[in-house]
């Protein structure tokens, strides 16, 4: 603008000649200032981004790490034969007849004995049944499973690691305080006093919680038993479906569109629609999946197969777009070279173009898979959430067809539950999910670095 209004004439070059290189004129100063300002904006933007990223990571780790440890009460349990096997013949059917209610008093008694044997311990709790509130509701079931698996140990005293109740666990992790206990009928201050003393005695320990990583979800009031393992298996089977379907379909579609299809209105329309599909909210894919796969095709509800199909639909546009981009990035001279020595179009594509595009395709696929792995919304609609994933699938077919959950859906499910212990589990689940996503992204980066070829 100012150039045009600057005086034109013989005196301009003269003036320019007078100016020294050592001083900066006003225009240059302004330009430099503008550049500096722009850099500051950029640094500020990056700074804000990093700041929030750090806050996010710190809060995730702080809230989630406690989920990886769990409080256990280690006591010798006397497996009373009169209670567990009144007939004394170790018949599995007879053993099964004793329900968890039969086992609970054994645990109470075991802890009570330990409390009484520990020297210098004072407590107002004077009855074995008072110990019940310190023990997880799942503990009798775990003990029962152990006995059913090892019937020959009935009648003996076995050292057992008993899962503590979530309030005890919370007290160990500073989640439960004496103030909050005052209004809590699940546990009393007397129990907390006892816990303090048992910790000192080494009976109550906080240990790494493998069950959180490998275990199954538990019901609403037993957060101490809940794990993400089964949901992880659900996610794994879904990712298998997504990979097996979306990679070949996506790559075939992109190769056809990019290399073979005539350029006309119809292919333009397809192209526009693929780009649009990539931007469609994922919940819409969930509704589509519900309508097509479950209501129309009558595939089983809540099954990883259906979840995988829905996520395939969602991932396909991502894979097609990234595959086409990497095919486009292969220089046309390579195609010319191949055609020039008499390769057919397909030979040119499969022998030369595709290998060069492979790192890009793989990267796109892994990023698409990572996206699908973290997707929750479409799974809500096909019922992969709300189901309590209590069992491991029995084999591969069951893995695909039996109801299951997925990691993000499990996290969502936990975050809905009332018990604050589930809040901690949700954060722990997020840590595991993020680890998976980070691993996948790192693999993508490594693949890109390793196989990137220069020409």
């Amino acid at each position: 603008m100012t150039d045009a209004t600057a005086p034109m004439g013989a005196d301009v070059p003269k003036k320019a000649r007078k100016s020294s290189l050592y001083g900066t004129d006003d225009r240059t100063k302004k330009r430099n200032a503008a550049e500096k300002r722009f850099q500051m904006y950029g640094i500020a933007a990056i700074g804000i981004g990093i700041f929030f990223l750090v806050i996010l990571l710190v809060s995730i780790v702080r809230s989630g790490v406690p989920a990886f440890t769990q409080t256990f009460i280690e006591v010798p349990v006397y497996l009373n034969e009169e209670v567990l096997d009144p007939n004394g013949n170790r018949d599995p059917d007879d053993l099964r007849r004793v329900s968890t209610f039969g086992y609970a008093p054994l645990i109470d008694q075991a802890i009570f004995n330990q409390v009484q044997q520990t020297e210098g311990l004072t407590t107002t709790l004077e009855d074995a049944s008072d110990m019940r509130k310190m023990v997880s509701a799942s503990a009798p079931a775990i003990l029962r499973d152990y006995v059913l698996a090892n019937p020959d140990e009935i009648g003996e005293t076995v050292d057992f690691r008993i899962l503590a109740a979530s309030r005890v666990d919370g007290y160990m992790k500073d989640r439960v305080t004496r103030e909050s206990v005052a209004r809590d009928k699940n546990i009393d201050a007397a129990h907390l006093d006892l816990v303090d003393q048992l910790v000192e005695a080494g009976t109550i320990k906080r240990e790494f919680n493998w069950d959180f990583i490998t275990g199954a979800d538990a019901s609403e009031n037993r957060p101490e038993q809940a794990g993400i393992g089964v949901a992880m298996i659900g996610s794994f089977f879904m990712m298998l479906v997504v990979l097996v379907l979306s990679l070949p379909i996506g790559v075939a579609a992109s190769i056809y569109l990019e290399e073979f299809a005539p350029k006309n209105r119809f292919t333009d329309l397809i192209e526009v629609n693929i780009s649009n599909l990539a931007a469609v909210p994922s919940i819409v894919f969930g509704i589509l999946g519900l309508a097509v796969f479950i209501q129309f095709a009558h595939l089983p509800q809540s099954a990883p197969l259906v979840g995988g199909l829905v996520l395939t639909l969602m991932t396909l546009p991502t894979i097609i777009i990234s595959t086409r981009a990497s095919l486009k990035a292969v220089p046309p001279s390579i195609r010319d070279a191949a055609l020039g020595v008499g390769a057919s179009k397909m030979q040119a594509v499969f022998h030369h173009v595709l290998p060069l595009a492979a790192p890009g395709i793989l990267t796109g696929t892994i990023i698409g898979l990572a996206q699908a792995l973290g997707e929750t919304a479409p799974l809500l609609l096909i019922g992969m959430v709300g189901y309590i994933a209590t069992n491991y699938p029995e084999g591969i077919a069951s893995g695909f067809l039996d109801p299951n959950s997925s990691m993000p859906a499990q996290i969502y499910e936990w975050s809905k539950r009332a018990d604050p212990a589930y809040y901690e589990r949700a954060w722990g689940g997020i840590i595991i999910l993020l680890l998976f996503l980070m691993t996948m992204n790192i693999i993508a980066i490594i693949l890109r670095r390793r196989f990137e070829r220069r020409w």
Binding site: S333, V341, S344
Partner: protein, 265 residues
């Protein structure tokens, strides 16, 4: 300043390899080649010269149907190779391209080993029965490409690691590996330095013994040095076609004269 045509070549006695009659090429609505008639003879170098955008490369690409890969490109007229119309519906362009090899402006070796670069064509056309055959073809082709001595010790090194001139000779070797009858070269030296250019030109002169070579070039000196016949294209028309010596010393058309003396272009 221009060399005379290579001595001992009786230009008109050679049999016609490619004969083009009334060739028209359209890119969409653009009329790129207008009614070109040209006869390319066997065992001889034919040069196409002309200013940028005159259609010489387009015409060259018609000769092995490389233009088929461009959607909007349409070719009319007859181009016969040994009397057979290459645009006939029965002709598979893949087979045609095995007979009519091509070398491109920018050296474009495959990002594979030198050996695989040469072996690719023979492999897909089934020219070698076994590994020994293939080794022989590779060696013969690299010798013909005048690059054997430079690469014989590193046949499994990547072809993209060679210098520009070596890459272009590798591409020429790759083109001759499929035993073509005609070799099309689209400005093969434009990306090369003068020394590499001289090597490639020498190679072209040797290749003339076995193939019909058609070369598109921007350098009139190069056309004069390597070719026996020259065609001058201007604005999509074939202005003049004749013996190289005659085109450069005594052109018939005033446009040719203007171009070679540097007045248009």
């Amino acid at each position: 300043m221009y060399d005379t045509p290579k001595s001992g070549v009786d230009v008109d006695a050679r049999e016609v390899k490619i004969s083009a009659r009334g060739v028209q090429v359209f890119y969409g609505d653009t009329h790129a080649i207008k009614d070109v008639d040209v006869e390319i003879q066997d065992k001889m170098v034919t040069a196409f010269i002309g200013p940028s955008g005159c259609g010489k490369s387009t015409f060259l690409r018609c000769l092995n149907r490389m233009n088929d890969t461009i959607d909007i490109c349409r070719v009319e007229g007859n181009i016969n190779l040994d009397g057979e119309n290459i645009y006939d519906a029965k002709v598979d362009p893949v087979q045609l391209r095995a007979k009519v090899g091509m070398v491109f402006q920018k050296p474009n070796p495959f990002p594979k080993s030198i050996y695989d670069n040469i072996a690719y064509g023979p492999r897909i056309h089934g020219l070698a029965k076994n590994k020994a055959d293939l080794d022989e073809i590779v060696e013969k082709s690299l010798r013909r490409g005048a690059i054997w001595d430079e690469v014989k010790d590193r046949l499994h090194a990547p072809g993209t690691g060679l210098s520009g001139g070596q890459q272009q000779r590798l591409c020429i070797a790759r083109a001759v590996a499929t035993e073509p009858e005609v070799l099309l070269m689209d400005e093969p030296c434009s990306a090369l330095d003068p020394i590499a250019t001289a090597q490639v030109e020498e190679l072209i002169d040797e290749l003339r013994g076995n193939y019909s070579v058609v070369i598109v070039t921007h350098s009139m000196q190069q056309a004069a040095r390597v070719s026996q016949k020259t065609a001058f294209f201007h604005l999509g028309n074939l202005v003049e076609f004749g013996e190289t010596g005659q085109i450069f010393t005594n052109p018939e058309d005033p446009r040719t004269e203007s171009y070679i003396t540097g007045r248009i272009g």
